[in-house]
Amino acid sequence: MQPTPMPTDSMAPDIAKAEGLPLLEIAGLKTQFFTDDGIVKAVNGVDLSIYSNRTLCVLGESGCGKSILARSILRIVDAPGRITDGSIVYRAADGRTVDLAAARHGSRELRSIRGNDIAMIFQEPMSSLGPITRIGKQITETILLHQKISKAEARETAIELLDKVGIPKPTERFEAYPFELSGGMRQRAMIAMALSCRPRLLIADEPTTALDVTTQAQILDLIDELKEELEMGVMLITHDLGVVAEVAEDVAVMYMGKVVEKSDVYSIFENPQHPYTRALLESVPRIGVTKRDRLPAIRGMVPHPLATPSGCSFRTRCDSYMPSVCDKHQPALVEHEGSQVACFLHSRETADD
């Protein structure tokens, strides 16, 4: 499957108003790390669309490339990583489309989108805030960067935001340093910062992993609320199926840098098609199913990122593995029973390059 390069900056104001066009359209995206030991294909040909006012959950085991996918969108993958192929088309409010994958590194265009149109909440709440800069300053900084308002106004907005994300005594916390806040508070501050410019797309990379269950629920509710309020598109990265069930509208399941199944949340839970999705669902305890005393874990381990199996990358762990089929070619992501699946059980279409 060859990605179709999108023209940058093509003005199409009438399309913009049209409903149903994705906010962000990722096609054939490949992000690779050129390490001393070889090339790590962290994102290896991903197609995804994110829509306004909808939450897309990206699901997958640790190391499957979720964070790198998210970082690729904002073009903040650190060296030696690089986007090698594909396009990330962002449709701005005025209908302009910009291919983020092709934008020049650190260009003004890219910077005006970062933080303003697309904001990101990072995985590590402990280290994602500047350690010796006051919380308030870090928030107002973002606001002042993108909006032409006075410092006092920015300060007011920031304190409002802190209040909104549920930080008690926001005026005091505004002056606090990150190390003075608990993990949950920091994550809330992070969210406040991400929302400070009312982004159209929010990328949340495991926003709740480090937090306790109560805080977790609060923060997810908060993101959901804000999504409704701001009509944001949300891309939520997680490996917690409970989270998916709670907030997702769309789901994409990733394995070794590829999307192996994507669908709406009901289809995923009711009618999972890919053996990996099925295995994932089976490994989760379910209320009402008490007979089983042991949960089946997914057999085997994720292969080393430098040792991608030939053919279907899941074949080393798949129960439905078909010799000389699954190891010869890569399955293409095709429509099947209302979902998109990449597995030879459902279609023999291949996606070899």
């Binding site: 903040i76 970062r114 933080g115 805030l129 800069t133 900084e141 992070m190």
Partner: protein, 327 residues
């Protein structure tokens, strides 16, 4: 912050006590005492100064137990600011040293500024443009700077400037200005001379600091908070200066702790080579002729001032880095 200051100042007291002990030991190390040789000298010249020598002996407790001598010495210093007498020159130590100490610390502090002004931008550049031509050049000169001892560099520079520029070298001012009152011309002449010891003393420190700044910044450059700043839409330069550089600056500033002592050390040895009117030549001379009260006092005061300098840098650091302050 107040508590922090007080704690640091209290910590300083045992250090100072140790310094005084070590210095005292150094004073005591040479076998015999200077008065013996003084007496011998006087005896040869025929004059009878037994009375004078006996007074001196009394005053410094020479011949009495160590702790008595130490007590007398410290008492003189703490109560009367009396550091003893320079036996060789037969004047009070205090009359000899302050001028020279002033120059030593003046040069050391100027050198510190020189080091920071050069090392900071070069270190940042080296880290951000890792493995670039500029980085390799900086690294190369950094290693050279570390490998050439101060006094060698001083000799080389004196040789070069004498041979190729015909400039008189050594001293802080040209011979015709020595002992003259300060005038504009003398000041300009001073500037013409003083850069050389500053560069010589500063080179190895600058080299070390470039490497430290580079390593610190490299530690910070790939931290999550940098990605956060980038994701906000800040420009590379902006985010670099506001986040990683600010964080990396703290260990950089805390290097005063050891850089100041090494600068003072370097200044002393360079001063000997360049014949500067600072502590170095005086100390060396005093040590060689075993004029021990003079030597001891110099070591004591130089150490003391360095410890105070380090203290100031610590307080400065606490003022800049909230994490230290709140500990």
């Amino acid at each position: 912050m107040m508590g922090f200051c007080l704690r640091r100042i209290l910590y300083m007291i045992p250090t100072l006590f140790l310094v005084s002990i070590v210095t005292f030991v150094i004073i005591q190390l040479p076998p015999g005492d200077y008065l013996d040789s003084l007496a011998a000298d006087m005896g040869e010249s025929g004059s009878d100064n037994t009375a004078v020598i006996e007074t001196l002996r009394q005053q410094y407790g020479l011949g009495q137990p160590m702790y008595v001598q130490y007590y007398k010495w410290m008492k003189g210093i703490l109560l009367y600011g009396n550091f003893g007498i320079s036996f060789e020159k037969n004047v009070l130590v205090t009359d000899l040293i302050w001028d020279r100490l002033g120059w030593t610390f003046g040069i050391s502090i100027l050198t510190l500024l020189f080091i920071w002004i050069t090392a900071l931008p070069i270190g940042i550049y080296s880290a951000v443009r890792k493995y670039s031509f500029g980085d390799y050049t900086a690294t190369f000169f950094g290693f050279i700077g570390l490998a050439v001892p101060n006094f060698l560099l001083a000799l080389l520079m004196m040789y070069i400037s004498f041979k190729y520029f015909g400039q008189s070298v050594g001293g802080l001012v040209s011979p015709e200005y020595i002992g003259e009152p300060w005038t504009y011309a003398k000041f300009i002449d001073l500037l013409k001379h003083i850069w050389m010891p500053i560069v010589v003393v500063g080179t190895s420190g600058a080299a070390a600091l470039i490497r430290i700044m580079r390593a610190n910044l490299l530690d910070e450059l790939y931290r999550p908070y940098v990605a956060t700043a980038r994701a906000k839409g800040m420009s590379e330069f902006q985010l670099l200066m506001k986040y990683p550089v600010r964080v990396a600056l703290n260990p950089f500033i805390s290097t005063i702790g050891w850089i100041l002592p090494s600068l003072v050390s370097g200044e002393i040895i360079v001063a000997v080579v360049m014949n500067l009117p600072t502590t170095g030549p005086l100390l060396l001379r005093a040590l060689l002729v075993q004029d021990m009260y003079l030597a001891g006092s110099l070591i004591l005061i130089v150490s003391l001032l360095t410890v105070i300098g380090t203290l100031i840098s610590d307080l400065l650091l606490a003022w800049i880095d909230p994490r230290i302050r709140y500990q």
